[in-house]
Amino acid sequence: MALLDVKNLSIDIHGIRPLDGISFHVDKGEILGIVGESGSGKSLTALSVMGLLPLIGGRIERGTITFDGTELTTLPEPAFRKLRGRRIAFITQNPMTSLDPVMRVGAQIDQVARLHLKLDAKAAQVRSIEIMEKLRIPEAATLYHHYPHQLSGGMKQRIVIAMALAADPDLIIADEPTTALDVTIQAQIIDLLVELVRDRDLALILITHDMGVVAQTCDRVVVLYAGRIAESHAVQAIFANPRHPYTKALIRCIPREDTVPGSLTGIPGAVPSVAHYPSGCRYHPRCARRGPPCDGIVPALDRPMGGGEIACHFPEGMGNVHV
């Protein structure tokens, strides 16, 4: 059984449905990438699993979220609180949303272990510095006493990761953890997260818009478009043989070594807003392969023989049957 199993999840925020029938799972020791453009529902997926939808006025309308045998959608808040930050940790894009600006960073890491693992102050400090050292934070014992504003963006994000690790979680959900950082620092942080997953047998859900990050780190990928799953598969299969036209187009948006000048085209149009989702397949107005049923009939999520899932009337590799 998977560590986290999300089935047919739909959510409701003030009468709109920004996530519609999302299913995915992640196992121990596995990195699952959830990828899509802004407005695809990536962050809402994270908030749903963390039980934080009420904070933005949302609720789970349908579906189940099972974590290590416990059903989260019906879990009362006090019980959820024992899980959140303890067994499921959350890393956000901007480290300052997780850090208290007027509290020394070391104390903030201590807090997690003291609250969840009931360590005393001394033991928590020793443990925090140990974790900071593992995260390759130089002079950890000194930085332990610093305030967030004294640290660079990359260091702050390392502190947030240290807080996430402090309670020894089983699952980390990282929502664009490196988007706000410089490229060289981004590479270092991603490298660190991958190493943690491999060493500690954690499960990691990496939410990103960057197909490059996905290709370099993830085991499996879920591609979201406008609140629905377009395609999901093992990372090699997604890149070698993308079946959904959106996946293929998204991969082609990033120039590679062998991209011929002038061949970068992007995807016409833009992701629709929740209030203006098109009928049928939500990608059809931007899709080069669209045909008669696409604007009227929502494509079902198929599970073809070769593995993975795909929701498309005319997947790549089928030929342009409708033209």
Partner: protein, 319 residues
């Protein structure tokens, strides 16, 4: 092939105070940049935050007053020009900003925004002429004529950036400085905008200075790449596929995540972080993070040396 813009020893010093009564501190945002920007080509400037790339962009157009050095635009010394003469010359050089939202007045319709450059230049257009101008500019950037009556908040990020480009093209310039024009856009829209810039460059024979933090994008889009680190040029690649000689360029290249899971790379560990520009070490600014640094690197700053092929690097121990 001639150079449209040449920079000689360009520098910009900023001062700041720690607190209201604190001591003034100075930093060189850009130091001693000497660079030729060839006509009809795309010159890319790449680097991380604080490397001085956006300051350089503003210095080139004299939107910021340089503290040192010379800027020649088509053989005219920009620093010697009076404000009115400079303004007239500005028709020929324009800038596209990262955030098109803050570059356009929210109360302006798109037609107003596109006609503003003509007003500033004191060019009078008749009503029919103005309408035709707006329509042709919108068409040039792939937007429909009905867009003329829209306001910025009604547009998507990609559409706003198209307006930003159309506005920069309104006065038919020769030279565009593009300061991270796609950094705040989704990848699918980024690719659209790059493709539009490629098309316009080919059609209009424009010269671009393209500022970016994304080496992958710069390698795709540019004819020549300038790598900056903490205010200085550390390497100039005469051809985008040239192998890096500076360890920093190699680091940037390796930090670029290739969208191909069959080409997974080991990430070389970097010690340390980008130094503060207020407190630069005496030697090479990259020495603290460089795996090859030795005592010489920490003491003596390496000069930028150009080989006969036009490949320049500033490193004591080039790769």
């Amino acid at each position: 092939m001639s150079d449209l813009v040449t920079l000689r020893g360009l520098g910009k010093r900023f001062e700041s105070r720690k607190g209201l009564f604190g001591k003034a501190r100075a930093m060189m945002a850009v130091s001693d940049v000497t660079l030729d920007i060839p006509r009809g080509k795309v010159t890319g400037v790449v680097g991380e935050s604080g490397c001085g790339k956006s300051t350089l962009a503003r210095l080139v157009l004299r939107l910021l007053e340089p503290s040192a050095g010379e800027i020649q635009f088509d053989n005219v010394n920009l620093r010697a020009l009076s404000a009115p003469t400079l303004r007239r010359l500005r028709r020929r050089m324009q800038m596209v900003f990262q955030d098109p939202y803050s570059a356009i007045d929210p109360r302006y319709s798109m037609a107003d925004a596109l006609l503003e450059p003509f007003q500033i230049q004191g060019i009078k257009l008749g009503a029919a002429e103005a309408r035709a101008k707006v329509e042709s500019l919108l068409a040039m950037v792939g937007l429909g004529a009905q867009m003329a009556t829209s306001y910025p908040h009604q547009l998507s990020g990609g559409q706003r950036q198209r307006i930003g480009i159309a506005r920069a093209l309104a006065l038919e310039p020769d030279f565009l400085v593009l300061d991270e024009p796609t950094a705040s856009l989704d990848v699918s829209i980024q690719a659209q905008i790059i493709s539009l810039l490629e098309k316009l460059q080919a059609e209009l024979g424009l010269t671009y200075l393209f500022i970016s933090h994304d080496l992958g994008l710069v390698r795709y889009f540019c004819d020549r790449i300038v790598v900056m680190y903490l205010g200085r040029v550390v390497e100039i690649l005469p051809d985008p596929q040239a192998a890096p000689r500076h360890p920093y360029t190699r680091t940037l290249l390796e930090s670029n995540f290739v969208p191909d899971p069959t080409q997974r790379r080991e990430i070389r560990r970097l010690t340390g972080e980008i130094a503060s520009a207020f407190d630069l070490p005496p030697g090479c600014a990259f020495a603290a993070r460089c795996p090859n640094a030795d005592d010489l690197c920490r003491r003596v700053r390496p000069e930028l040396i150009t080989d006969p092929g036009g490949h320049a690097s500033a490193c004591h121990h080039p790769l």
